[in-house]
Symmetry: C2
Subunit: 309 residues, 2 copies
Amino acid sequence: MNNPVFNLHTFLSEHKALVNVHLEKILLELDSDRKLVQAMTHSLMAGGKRLRPVLALASARACGKDFTLALPAACALEMIHTYSLIHDDLPGMDDDDLRRGKPTCHKKFGEATAILAGDALLTHAFTILAHPHGLFDPVPEPQNLLELVAVISRAAGVNGMVEGQMLDMHPDRENKIKGNKPCSLDHLKNIHALKTGQMILASVVCGAVSVNAPARLRKQLEVYASHVGLAFQVMDDILNVQGDPEKMGKAAGSDVLKDKLTFPVVMGLGQSKAYAKKLADQAVDALDRFDNNADPLRAIAGYVINRDR
Amino acid sequence: MNNPVFNLHTFLSEHKALVNVHLEKILLELDSDRKLVQAMTHSLMAGGKRLRPVLALASARACGKDFTLALPAACALEMIHTYSLIHDDLPGMDDDDLRRGKPTCHKKFGEATAILAGDALLTHAFTILAHPHGLFDPVPEPQNLLELVAVISRAAGVNGMVEGQMLDMHPDRENKIKGNKPCSLDHLKNIHALKTGQMILASVVCGAVSVNAPARLRKQLEVYASHVGLAFQVMDDILNVQGDPEKMGKAAGSDVLKDKLTFPVVMGLGQSKAYAKKLADQAVDALDRFDNNADPLRAIAGYVINRDR
């Protein structure tokens, strides 16, 4: 770490607060008397880590530019992440009652409203990207805004997060059980690359696109992001086995109960921890040509594998 | 009609075919072995009227420009319309078994896959708008593409189609039953303006935006579209009472069974027909400064109230 005064805890809480202020501005433009808006607000403001938006802001900062240009993308990323959680929790999907320590959207507002609240958050994210004016200042150039729509929609869609969700719900059981051996690591990595990895990659890329960073920086940031994304998911699986339900806001061990394919299942708990550490180190190595503007990104790689929720 | 050789039937079938060719190109880029892609294909290629895409193409043509510039928006509009039908039909929503004469997406592929296929179609529509290159030629200018994202996402989202869906599922029953009188016409018009009107308006606007038409033309097209959109919905309600289930691909009378608020309920069948006719006439009147390039739009206003499905 080149910057001795950098404090990750302060960075995370300040940037999370900045994101929350702008998410509240977005919601305030809508009529809060409407049930649909209440359901969107319930899930969006339930107090998540805001990892994706913070990554976008930290990435813009690493490029040495005005990082507030990345706020529209940061908010859009969190809205899309939240929509994916709402739909993920539905009775027809994972059927979960708790999320971020609160009742899931459908538990509180009913199934139809939850489906529509997810649809509305996804759609509104693109409205924000296409027309951030009035809510954000400064805003990225039009051609950069259009690229943000492309990057985020690709990561969230049929070749990204949605397909990851399909694979997560219908993993290749034959592959898993074949000869009593667990599923291959490559198969599991592919599920996670799609389900969470692409959106984390997109978050970092969006920071660079928002400030119109050169392709050279963007490439290095992509390497960082792909390692951090996988480290994040390995750690998520570890926390699901041994985390504190109070801190996580959901029951521990739920993956095991649902017979989900996880890194601890495939490679054991100890190996999983070592793997997460190695991935975080590789992420930091990818930033070796960046100056101390990239210290937040470096610190986030450590945070991802040392968090407790 | 200024153009004696114009034939609406030919126009509709040719333009529908053109849209279908491009929707197939979009799907062909995806791996058809995947269940998610099969579910998207099942619903997208189930043979709808393609009214929204045809309106977009006819609107671009009315502006006297190369109407094929509107094909990316036309496809995106149909993908978003199809996603809304998939989610609308879900067990947690209207719980319908048939759509466009085929099993609904969840009946054929299961509920989880249907939710995700809807999500994927919505998201992929924005990918197409943000990056139509390779699939479409010519393509609109970047600033026009960004405006298409804004126009379509607003019409489809929290202040448009999704809110209309909320109101349709939870209409103000007190208002409806008050003093044994049916719900006010204004209330019903508001539901429909949101549920279907905004997307039909967006379709026409997208045609103008795709060809970068001047604001003057766009304003007149908006008046046309708001009347056609309402006429379409009044006719939909009429067909639900007296239509042929074979032609519509769904059961007649389903609105009555679900106690839905409709124009025949509020104003009677005869009045509803007269109202639809008046709206179509007003739509045509709005185009009085357009030349015969607008003949397709004029003819579509008539088609909307004379169709049998």
